[in-house]
Symmetry: C2
Subunit: 206 residues, 2 copies
Amino acid sequence: MESEFQSSLLEGAVTELSRLPGIGRKTALRLALYMLRRDEREAVALGQALIDMRRGISYCRVCHNISEAEVCPICSDTRRDTSTVCVVENVKDVLNVERTGRFDGLYHVLGGVISPIDGIGPDSIEINSLVERVADNKISEVILALSPTMEGDTTNYYIYRKLMALGRSDLVITRLARGVAVGNDLEYTDELTLGRSIIDRRPFEN
Amino acid sequence: MESEFQSSLLEGAVTELSRLPGIGRKTALRLALYMLRRDEREAVALGQALIDMRRGISYCRVCHNISEAEVCPICSDTRRDTSTVCVVENVKDVLNVERTGRFDGLYHVLGGVISPIDGIGPDSIEINSLVERVADNKISEVILALSPTMEGDTTNYYIYRKLMALGRSDLVITRLARGVAVGNDLEYTDELTLGRSIIDRRPFEN
């Protein structure tokens, strides 16, 4: 027997699949055997889609979001408000904010948050390019939309200071509102969030 | 925006990934974004491994196990006992039995079990080829190694009758022993299994 799986091709597929996060060798084998049972076109389409995606997608020169072109569709969309930049941690968050349909400005994808424990300092992520971008363009508002975690807050504050140092009196820096999640029972809202929702309370409107 | 994911390449990869069992669109997106963050070679290696596997693996003409050649490595291994055939439901079970290191005969992979509810009759799986194989070869024992479920038992019985109909007095038909799982507490062994382990009790040996 050449390999544990009686086939070096199966072994190869299982090994590559199990490099993916959350996929162990057992799951990888299950997926590979599933593909063997299905039509050949399906497995080839999957394999080719992964190759095409990885080869065809790079990062937008302006906002560092994923893009098939040098500048992403959002940055090159002339209908969007170019004076507002929403700073997010990663590509997924761009998709999340886009899905709300409540934002028509541009993005800046940091590619992470400052986390000394993980060895991620300010220079490891796209903060300098953000500061340059704000300095060089007519940007009137920067929305800091990082997760309300220790690392997110640290990164927010670091960016805030860097942007303030530009000395641009016309620049507004905002952050996402914090409060009770829509549809959530107060009973299950943690006290920090509930406390913040009282401090940040807004006039009642119908 | 052309697609939900701002990139038809990303969309394509997510769509193909989410065809896999147990992988929804959210997980598919997470996997695709992970691949985008990793080195290009990794994604290409994965994609190519899946294509190569599906194109290079077919089924053994003799036992219907997966094989890169017309006859699989087990069937063509001259050191194995060709007089004993172990009947299993699927490819995974071949790997499972091989891993025990307790069997050196050949296999016959049915590709399923009889299950009228799922529209799987005796002719949908490799039963006729098993009967022909036993009729045409010097096979002295057939081990029925299907899962002890309703469908497995039905299939076992169907195969048993078909093989008996060959009228081969030298043919022994066996099934897997049923009993308490090794290392399992009796307290957690179901009563059917425990009852079977009493009926099938064996002389004590050190």
